[in-house]
Symmetry: C3
Subunit: 131 residues, 3 copies
């Protein structure tokens, strides 16, 4: 299992980690990449990556959940249920094919790490399965 | 990697692609099917498929996001953030077991292609892993 | 394919099934676990598990969808579109790495079965792929 460290700086932040994952995959000619995070207040998604969309994703995340409270789950005065629910529903792993040493992504698909309860030091785990 | 082409006709449309995926899987006796799309404004989901539910899924998708704007991400005068966010959160791939040449689906589970920014010509990719 | 039976007692209920999945995985030293459910009104998620958060997850699920109706999909006078949509979007399968006979989960990650249209008798399916 290989690891990538991601240092987040904001409470909610979208970080493109595609190139770092692609580098670690390079040794596998053909197969599958399994990318996952061991966290419960962050998510991994596939999405186009541009500044406007990054801000829109956070905007939607905030709006979806701001009216659902009050919540019971509170850690250190931080009612971070929003982070937990989005992490659970959006998901914390991605399976991606590998062809000729490259990730099988569409033209606009990027691997985005979605920080929902930062700032924190986060880990992305990568497993490759040759086929 | 095998491919299925899906031609969508509406801005938002739910299309059952189970039978077409099942056909391509038929050569594998036992293993896993990995079904994915290279798109960022569409999704692949497992769901029951009937006309009422298809319309309800689109209804929910529209409602969830209609009040979250205004959005910044605009392509050709089309503020399609809704499509991007739902694609990212619902997901663009499915992993499904294969037993005796058939997809391990429940009685009501169908593979649905969810067009969120159509009409478009879309591609579904299929990989099978024998076990 | 191995199976776990889950008996739910409430219309919406969150049940931690991590230990039961971990037991069935024990024979595999290194590889992947593929956990799935054949249902369209339940979901499998990774999340922290505590009583407050369990209630918050159900709270969010209810709120997200309560204003999206009226719905067309009605089974036995039960408009369970909410259950279908959350099942589809949150997902009905999880892929988890296995290292030294144990699931590669983070400190707080638990496998939660999310009943959305109970009470019912449910099945969790498990496949392991050695690597």
């Amino acid at each position: 299992m290989k690891r990538i460290e991601v240092v987040t700086e904001e409470p909610m932040q979208v970080i493109d980690v595609t190139d770092r994952v692609a580098e670690l995959v390079a040794g596998t000619e053909d197969g599958m990449a399994f990318v996952s995070i061991p966290h419960t207040t962050a998510a991994l998604i596939l999405s186009e990556d541009d500044g406007e969309l990054r801000r829109d994703i956070i905007r939607v995340a905030r709006r979806w959940l701001q009216d659902c409270g009050p919540f019971e789950h509170i850690k250190k005065n931080n009612p971070n249920t929003v982070a937990h629910v989005l992490s659970s529903f959006a998901g914390t792993s991605l399976t991606i094919g590998i062809s000729r040493g490259k990730l099988d992504l569409g033209t606009y698909q990027r691997i985005l790490f979605l920080e929902l309860d930062g700032p924190k030091i986060r880990t992305i785990r990568l497993r490759t399965m040759p086929m």
